[in-house]
């Protein structure tokens, strides 16, 4: 059955109940990218609107991945950091992955995963204090990355990581 449903428009209002996800429309292949699903189309519009808070970032498609690339400038040192935020295949059930490119981090750097991936939240802390699939956007991830860079530069200067240790 094909219901008579027009496509989502930016002016549409959306109401949800339960954990809405980027599942494909019936009859579609299961592997369609998240941004081509009914919820994903709406979500990408919201993500794009949220990222207007960071005008230097642009949406890029690399291979089968969709993500944002741009620069964050440290307020402490004025250093620029190339930041990439990639939506995983399982977005929004899985969090976007932020990486800091073209930067040599001292070894060991605390709260850094895989050499260039800042540890932004602890999944075990749950959606209220970390990533929430229904709430957190790429803009939130970029904002958290900005805080991480601030903490990192503080650590470089003082050898103490500010804030709560997790």
């Amino acid at each position: 059955m094909s219901a008579n449903v027009p496509d989502v428009k930016p002016s549409d209002r959306v109401f949800v109940s339960g954990r809405v996800s980027a599942v494909p429309e019936e009859g579609s292949e299961w592997w369609v990218p998240w941004w081509e699903t009914p919820y994903g189309r709406w979500r990408l519009q919201v993500e794009t609107e949220a990222m207007t808070r960071f005008p230097g970032f642009e949406l890029v498609v690399t291979g089968s991945d969709l993500g944002w690339v741009g620069q964050l400038r440290s307020a402490l040192t004025g250093n620029d950091y190339d930041v990439k935020v990639v939506y995983p295949y399982g977005f929004p059930d899985m969090a976007p992955i932020a990486t800091i490119e073209n930067h040599r981090f001292p070894d060991p750097t605390p709260h850094l995963l895989d050499g260039n991936r800042p540890c932004l939240f602890v999944p075990e802390h749950g959606p209220r204090s970390g990533y929430d699939p229904a709430r957190t956007t790429a803009a939130t991830i970029v904002a958290w990355t900005s805080l991480w860079i601030h903490a990192y530069e503080t650590w470089l200067a003082t050898e103490t990581w500010p804030g709560q240790q997790s």
Binding site: V5, F15, V16, V23, E26, Y39, V46, E49, R135, A143
Partner: protein, 162 residues
Amino acid sequence: MIEAFADLDWQNAAWAALLIVTFVARRAPDRIRRWRTRPRRTPPLWWAALMVRVDDRGSVVYPAVQLRGDPVSKPATLTLELFDHEGKRRIRTSRPLPAGSENAHFPFDAIAIPKGTLLEDVLAWRWDIVLRSRRRELKRWHEYPTALDGLNPEGEIASSSV
């Protein structure tokens, strides 16, 4: 002579009965143990979520149900039932669900807002998602949609009750 044969039959019958009782007594614990430990079929697990879009005209709503979890093994029906604040069913709409359906977004036809009712009223009603196979109700979810109200200052998606 006949009495002798009758006695013999009784004896045979008694022996046969004794053999049967012995056989059952030996096998029964094993059968009971196997019956107790046999793998049982677990009931299917499903999760449902509701997504309702309202266009700028505001006179119709476009609902869709997302069904996740186990595949629906037989042809089924997905129904939306809307109950007002007094518990009276006001709207009912169904759509078929092919066998094997799983992890998908199932749109419904647009629902027109009943005359004399505000859009906000309809969105504040209880929305029941009902999964039925033939006449049997497999699962029912009670849903209350919340509005996704754009973004908060931190770039997070904000939501609020209708």
